[in-house]
Amino acid sequence: MMQIPCILCGRRDESEFVCGGASHLLRPPLEASDQQWGDYLFFRDNPKGVHLERWRHAQGCGRWFNVARHTVTHEILSVYAITEPAPR
């Protein structure tokens, strides 16, 4: 069971959070093609390695925030606000 550093509350057990999947998705406009819309909805990098994803402290403050996490070791490299750009 992981411990996730909520951007507002600090470290809490994984069971207080929900994972919202990949972060930094750009929502296409209504005029987007079916292909672009499908890409946005379904297609993912799904890396074996560092994944940029968003989590919500659902059983706590309710805040969504971004997490850079390794999908094999589950090590959390950083957390950052939802409005911040992806770390390089």
């Binding site: 799904n46 994944h51 094999v72």
Partner: protein
């Protein structure tokens, strides 16, 4: 030359000091080129190779496995086979798979211990009963056995359930597919490997694919830890690692990898004959022929390539088991593990072409890949051999994520796979 397995062969073994046996499959070193390469030596990959040779006469085939065959999800699941699916497309696919399973021990000359002790899905509310009525009727329309069970029938089939009035998770009735059950997971991998090997397929273990060689936009081979191997048709059957391979080939999949846990108890004298699934708690369990209770969980709901599983999920699934079977509190968990499953939005597989010509894929089985092994192999072999998707697999092409023609079993039934 392989032995034929029978009671007679065992008798010969008894008198020869077990020296009469030959390798179940031969470990091959990679050749320079093959007609077809299958990436992934799990059940799906091995079945693909077998059906390429058997159905399509293609013997110049290699299965390339990063580790050891059957070591991924094929050896890490709860061994349940069933075909209780709602939509005609899924029903046809999974029932074809179950029918192949039914003939597999004889066909492969390898006892896969297909045990059709039936499965019972528990209804915990009247809403569940209605959903199961729809499900059973849909299956029957598709020509697949299904029935509805009363509360008493469930109690008789599943001893130990908490049927008391104060049960937190009441059981009102259930759904059953009598042809459902379990099969011995390792035997599927070994049986297909042995049969494929006998037909001339090369099984190459400890060989990791590091890239797909492309010329003029087409795939022409793979780069591996044991060198380059050429083939102008390549199939991927790598479950949770599909995205990693797709990434090597330069495209993305509508797949996210999650850990799916399972665990077993210590072996017990028989307490549970059927497979029991409880959508309300997310728990499903059966008792193996060895006597261990095999317990399956829902997904660890964050992307993961770690074959561990979160302790929070272990606890939550066991709490569900004890809510149903309060007597099991005294049993002990002996082993726990996780497989990495390839989950797609509609919980249905992806079978067929990829954006790279010559490269085909079979993935997206998510939590239900084991029951799909025979048909997954059958249909991937078909598209590799003919270039055309098998009619059964047509609705499961990658294009559905653009058209929106999803086959959303999970959403429709509200029942986890």
């Amino acid at each position: 030359m392989q032995n034929r397995y029978s009671a007679w062969s065992l008798l010969r073994g008894a008198f020869s000091g077990q020296r009469n046996w030959s390798p179940a499959w031969t470990d091959a070193a990679p050749k320079a080129a093959y007609d077809v390469i299958v990436v992934g030596g799990g059940g799906h990959g091995l079945a693909t190779a077998y059906y390429l040779a058997k159905n399509h006469g293609l013997n110049n085939v290699a299965v390339i496995e990063r580790g050891w065959i059957g070591g991924g999800n094929t050896g890490r699941n709860t061994t349940i086979v069933r075909s209780n699916y709602l939509y005609p497309e899924s029903a046809r696919l999974y029932d074809f798979s179950l029918k192949l399973y039914e003939g597999l021990s004889a066909e492969l000359n390898f006892n896969i211990m297909l045990s059709q002790r039936g499965l019972v899905l528990l209804a915990h509310s009247r809403h569940d009963l209605d959903a199961m009525s729809r499900w059973a009727n849909a299956m029957r329309m598709n020509g697949i056995d299904a029935g509805i069970l009363s509360r008493d029938e469930v109690a008789a089939m599943v001893p130990g359930l908490d049927m008391s009035p104060q049960a937190r998770i009441p059981v009102l009735g259930g759904f059953t597919q009598r042809r459902g059950g379990t099969a011995r997971h390792d035997a599927i991998a070994w049986g297909y490997a042995r049969a494929a090997s006998a037909l001339g397929v090369d099984i190459i273990q400890n060989c990791e694919v590091q890239g797909f060689v492309q010329e003029g936009g087409r795939v022409v081979g793979v780069d591996t830890t044991r060198g380059r191997i050429n083939a102008d048709r390549v199939g991927i059957a790598a479950a949770g690692h599909s995205s990693v391979l797709a990434n090597l080939a330069g495209f993305r999949l509508p797949v996210t990898s999650y850990a799916l846990q399972a665990m077993v108890s210590e072996p017990l004298k028989p307490v549970l004959d059927t497979v029991v699934l409880s959508p309300g708690t997310g728990a499903y369990l059966s008792q193996s022929d060895k006597g261990e209770l095999v317990i399956g969980a829902m997904l660890d709901l964050f992307p993961s390539y770690a074959q561990r599983g979160s302790f929070a999920v272990t606890q939550s699934i066991l709490a569900g088991v004890l809510a149903l079977f309060p007597a099991y509190a005294r049993l002990k968990m002996l082993r726990q593990w996780a497989g990495i499953v390839d989950v797609v939005h509609d919980s249905s597989p992806i079978i067929g072409a990829t954006p790279v010509p010559g490269l085909y894929i079979n993935c997206g089985w998510g939590t239900g890949g084991f029951k799909g092994i025979p048909v997954g192999g059958w249909t991937l072999a078909h598209v590799l051999a003919t270039g055309e998707n098998h009619p059964l697999a047509e609705p499961f092409a990658l294009s559905r994520f653009v058209t929106g023609r999803l086959i959303d079993e999970a959403a429709a039934s509200g029942i986890a796979h």
